[in-house]
Symmetry: C2
Subunit: 156 residues, 2 copies
């Protein structure tokens, strides 16, 4: 096959290199895990999943890579109040746009995808306006509702 020079993963390598970073085995593995799930995973979750395919990747690297991805805007970091952060790929093919309801008492988390249309409309305008006014390059957003879930509000 002449003329075909390593047309590998059209994937993430370019994204990394485009930002001045290198593509490495650990980073590829982490991207694979992130794009292979539709759940919000903790660093440890990701570490364990990565470990199955690439046992040499360390937890430290997972943390470093997640921080990098967050800065690049490819990943969103969530805090649900249980002491460990969760991470989600922004543009996952599987990941439907969603947000979270968090029970302030038992910390239960409900993912919802409702009202996204109305939300989109509001967000579009807000993002446009805010990025202009504050000269901010907005890449992601988080919306979280706090309250009491059905179980917690009916007890005590």
């Amino acid at each position: 096959m002449p003329g075909r020079r390593r047309m590998m993963s059209p994937g993430w390598g370019g994204k990394f290199r485009g930002c001045g970073y290198r593509m490495t085995v650990p980073r590829q593995a982490i991207m694979d895990v992130l794009s292979g799930t539709d759940k919000h995973l903790s660093a440890e979750d990701i570490y364990m999943k990565v470990h199955k395919m690439s046992p040499d990747v360390g937890l430290t690297t997972v943390y470093r890579t997640l921080e990098l991805l967050t800065q690049m805007g490819l990943v969103v970091k969530f805090d649900f109040g249980d002491g460990r952060a969760r991470y989600e790929l922004t543009e996952g093919p599987k990941s439907e746009h969603h947000h979270h309801l968090i029970c302030a008492s038992c910390k239960r988390i409900i993912e919802y995808t409702d009202f996204i249309d109305e939300e989109m409309e509001f967000l579009k305008r807000a993002e446009k306006g805010l990025s202009k006014k504050y000269n901010f390059d907005i890449k992601n957003h988080i919306i979280q509702f706090y309250g009491l879930c059905d179980k917690c509000k009916n007890k005590k």
Copy 2:
């Protein structure tokens, strides 16, 4: 002045007692600090301010009280990604409804109060719908935009 029996602070005591908790000196001091600022404070910030008036209140109690207040829905707990949580009274007279822009690179935080009207409209509908659908008693919400601030987006 007969007939007047200690008509003290019409304040927070009732709120606490109404939830089955006691009103104490530390709790009163913490409420005073929270209602006396319009900034988002860390636990340590609050501890130090409380300490000026009530030197006996310990940091542990500050944490405990903040957790309590968060569960009661009187306080919102924020995570701006710098490793320490911030707390804000929900219904402060001073506190204008606002949200935050967070620079994913330098962690700078911009508070904005724009687009609140449109937001309110969206939130009103979302909260009503979500609380019904998921049988959730929604007390607060958080909206955060992540991206790069003007300084960070123009450098490497």
